[in-house]
């Protein structure tokens, strides 16, 4: 156990040294490190709790995704039934709960309708998807009634898509804020995590994320007055929408058909109306959007159309002349800032479903700085206490233990840097606790050696036996703590995860140094001093 070949010793020292070396970039300012080779630039990232910033967890409204998908299915069903030849008569399909119901009239042959509806059902996940999984379930109830429902995999696929699209759009919106290194990632099934370091007032960010930004150009329905529609009921292809809070939530009767949507915009910029100097948003359609919009304005000169954003009527101007150039502008009681925000939202695109903020944690830079200071003081003081205690208890062996602990901490920082890991306040606690654990492995070894000495062994055989027996114990006892850390990593979130990371890495380095470095030092010491008798304290 005590004989370690020269090559092995070199490998041990080299490993420890190189790992520690990775911690070096953390001690230099970022500007200096930037000129180093790429592999040497990896460094520890301070968590939001230490550098300040905003952590916002958003939830994608999956109920809205389901609903939209059902509405779309309803429209598709109507479309394909019209294509049935010879034509059949049917009542307009309706959404009932999670089902779209189609009722054929006048004893129409259901087979032709079913064949057409089945074309709507797509295989899930492309060619490689699960065998036989399709997007629709079609039940012929009889009596002309056909029920369509979305299969669970189809809905899940749509939700996954919606979350991915949301992430993309959230990223575009956050990028507009011009912040440094925002982190945007999916969390769980239907959540999106946004972390913006340094952002201390997330009000504007929340405003940008809180809007779906679904822009639609629709016609105002003038077949009856709004008052009539409110009193009775609106025509089937129209609905009542309200104006913005600023203009007193005025009701409008708006056709459901969308002439052009925000998806067909290529650009949007804030600007000013030349005559009134009022803030506006100017936009440009893509070619198909420009064609549709031009066609609609040609057909409807003199009528009212509505600009609807997130089911709210921003403005409802009269079409004075055909707009065929593909350019337009929106005015609607904007301030400079709200015009700017709307332009950002329109450029970034609409979210597939609304996002709700379900968790928000903001730390100011002042608190972060204080936490770093406190963490630093606690670790210095804690380490000093442990170092002195070990010296007093074990003398020269205490020095060995302290060397092992120092290498341990160095290696933890090195590994954290290699992983580009995030250091949080609980993470600092984990490092301080590791100092305690690392010492423990040395204590186990030394106490075991002392016992062997008491049983009458000579110095060298005692050290040898002590290591052999203690190492098995060290492995067993550390694995249990490691399991706890691993579970904490899997189930924990945020800063607590940082604790699990440092604790886990600390256990690995502890076991490494106990098996290699501590042994190597002891071997050298034995060879150097050739002790006859041994008295560890």
């Amino acid at each position: 156990m005590l004989y370690i070949s020269r090559w092995k010793a070199l490998a041990i020292l080299l490993t420890a040294f190189v790992v520690c070396l990775f911690a070096v970039p953390n001690f230099f300012p970022e500007s200096t490190v930037a000129s180093w080779p790429k592999w040497a630039q990896r460094h520890i990232v301070l968590g939001l709790d230490l550098q300040g910033g905003s952590h916002i967890l958003l939830e994608v409204d999956t109920a809205a995704v389901r609903k939209e998908k059902l509405e779309q299915l309803k429209d598709d069903a109507r479309r394909v039934l019209r294509e049935v030849r010879p034509p059949i008569r049917f009542a307009p399909p309706a959404v009932r709960g999670n089902i779209v119901e189609v009722r054929l009239l006048e004893n129409a042959d259901p087979q032709a309708a079913l064949a057409k509806l089945r074309e709507l059902s797509q295989p899930i996940g492309g060619l490689l998807g699960g065998a036989g999984q399709r997007s629709l379930e079609i039940v012929n109830v009889g009596g002309g009634l056909i029920q369509l429902s979305l299969t669970e995999p189809a809905i899940r696929e749509r939700i996954t898509q919606a979350v991915q699209q949301s992430i993309e759009i959230v990223r575009r919106r956050v990028d507009e804020l011009g912040t440094v290194e925002p982190l945007i990632q999916r969390q769980g099934e239907d959540k999106v995590l946004v972390q913006v370091p340094g952002l201390q007032d997330p009000t504007r960010l929340k405003e940008l994320l809180g809007k779906t930004a679904k822009l639609e150009f629709r016609m105002v329905d003038t077949s009856m007055t709004v008052e009539q529609a409110l009193a009775e009921r609106p025509p089937p292809d129209s609905e009542i929408l309200y104006g913005t809070a600023k203009e007193g939530k005025h009701p409008y009767l708006i056709k459901k058909q969308v002439l052009v949507s925000g998806a067909e915009l290529t650009d949007a910029q804030p600007g000013f109306e030349q005559r009134t100097n009022e803030p506006i948003v100017q936009f440009v359609f893509n070619s198909s959007g420009a064609r549709k919009f031009g066609q609609a304005t040609i057909e409807n000169v003199g009528r009212l159309f509505a600009i609807v954003l997130d089911n709210e009527v921003i403005s409802a101007p009269v079409i004075r002349e055909p707009i065929t150039g593909g350019r337009g502008q929106i005015s609607g009681n904007f301030t400079v800032e709200s015009a700017n925000d709307l332009a950002i939202l329109l450029r970034a695109g609409a979210l597939p479903a609304p996002l709700t903020i379900i968790e928000q944690r903001v730390v100011g830079a002042g608190l972060g700085q204080d936490s770093i200071e406190q963490g630093r003081r606690a670790s210095y003081f804690g380490s000093a206490l442990v170092v002195v205690f070990m010296l007093v208890t074990y003398g020269i062996f205490g020095i060995f233990a302290n060397i092992a602990v120092a290498v341990n901490v160095g290696m933890i920082f090195g590994i954290l840097s290699m992983l580009n890991a995030t250091l949080t306040l609980p993470g600092i606690i984990g490092i301080v606790l590791t100092v305690g654990i690392a010492v423990d492995s040395n204590v186990l070894i030394y106490e075991r050696i002392r016992e062997e000495v008491r049983h009458g062994r000579s110095a060298i055989t005692a050290i040898d036996a002590g290591f052999t027996r203690a190492l098995a114990t060290i492995l067993d006892s550390n694995i249990t703590t490691f399991i706890a850390a691993a579970v904490l990593f899997l189930f924990g979130t945020g800063p607590v995860r940082g604790f699990a990371v440092t604790l886990g890495i600390g256990i690995l380095t502890t076991v490494f140094t106990a098996f290699t470095l501590t042994r190597l030092i002891a071997a050298w010491w034995v060879r150097w001093t050739r002790p006859q008798r041994l008295a560890i304290s």
Partner: protein, 315 residues
């Protein structure tokens, strides 16, 4: 060359202690049973002081810009907002105030509106140091996730110990360490210390540390069982505990020193975490390994068949 191999400076535990730990089980077992029941009763009837991580709501830490905080004035400003239960608490220095706003009825959006109102009421006289809003959905998820995490950890460790030792050891360690967790939860209920995500981290770490200690003793017991085939169990356990006593104590001193530094200098944010750890690791964990984990092996039937069974074998 003859070198002084080491300088004996401080001996915390004398060599060759011969405490009869096993006899103490007649006191320690009933005592632990009573304390555990008390802890469970506390948990059910006194409850834990759940933080916003688990029950939702908002938490704002502010620092007044001009002089010490006037809690009464701030309370008056906030109580008129109609946000239900609003708690203010001095947090650290005289300028630091922690404001807790209870979970608002009306889902996720209502929480956001509440915090906006608080910001408006406090205006620019304070610096916002921390602002946390946890909605009802996520708090339920966090609580469920944490509970599952604890249970998974316990079973993962149980399975590991079962592989490494005999099943009696695994079971004994589990009983001992669930006992630790129960007592710690009782302590948290009694002191009404904040119970949040970091408390779960504390509980898991206590579990890990306490098992670490137990495993060291069990390791020794297993070794002794192999070496002394005919020694009666209580004696064997006593020798095992005594021979690892010095290590147990020294290790706990170092961990305590590290924790003490964290408690004294780590600031308010980690205060509840370290306080819980000190109770769990230092007070309970040490006691459990020696007085519960080791003697329980007698009841679990380790070594009952050893007498005479393999008399021919000698170590």
């Amino acid at each position: 060359m003859r070198v002084h191999s080491s300088i004996p400076l401080l001996r915390i535990v004398p060599d060759d202690t011969k405490f009869d730990f096993m006899r103490f089980r007649r006191i320690s077992f009933p005592m632990s049973a009573i304390l555990s029941i008390a802890a469970i009763l506390l948990f059910f009837f006194h409850g834990l002081n759940f933080g916003i991580d688990f029950i939702g709501g908002s938490l704002i830490e502010v620092r007044t810009v001009n002089g010490p905080a006037d809690l009464a004035k701030m309370r008056a400003a906030l109580s008129g907002l109609g946000l239900g239960d609003v708690q203010l608490q001095q947090f650290g220095g005289p300028t630091d105030v922690l404001i807790r706003v209870a979970q608002q009825p009306g889902g996720e959006v209502a929480q956001q509106q509440a915090i906006a109102k608080v910001r408006q009421a406090l205006g620019n006289e304070v610096e916002y140091r921390r602002e946390e809003v946890v909605g009802p959905r996520i708090s339920t998820e966090l609580l469920a996730g944490s509970t599952i995490g604890l249970v998974v950890a316990i079973f993962a460790i149980l399975i590991y110990l079962w592989f490494r030792f005999e099943w009696q050891f695994a079971l004994g360690a589990m009983i001992a360490n669930v006992h630790d967790l129960v007592l710690t939860i009782g302590y948290m209920s009694l002191t009404q210390i904040d119970f949040d995500l970091s408390s779960i981290a504390a509980l898991l770490t206590i579990l890990g540390y306490s098992l670490n200690d137990t495993v060291v003793i069990y390791d020794r017991i297993r070794e002794m069982l192999r070496r002394y085939k005919r020694m009666p169990m209580p004696e064997l356990l006593n020798i095992s505990v005594n021979s690892t006593l010095s290590r147990s104590i020294i290790t706990h001193v170092t961990v305590t020193l590290a924790l003490l530094a964290l408690l004294l200098f780590g600031g308010h944010a980690i205060h509840s975490f370290t306080a819980t750890m000190i109770f769990g690791v230092v007070l309970v964990g040490t006691y459990t390994s020696v007085f519960i984990a080791a003697p329980i092996l007698i009841y679990l039937g380790v070594g009952t068949t050893r007498m005479g069974e393999d008399a021919a074998e000698k170590s």
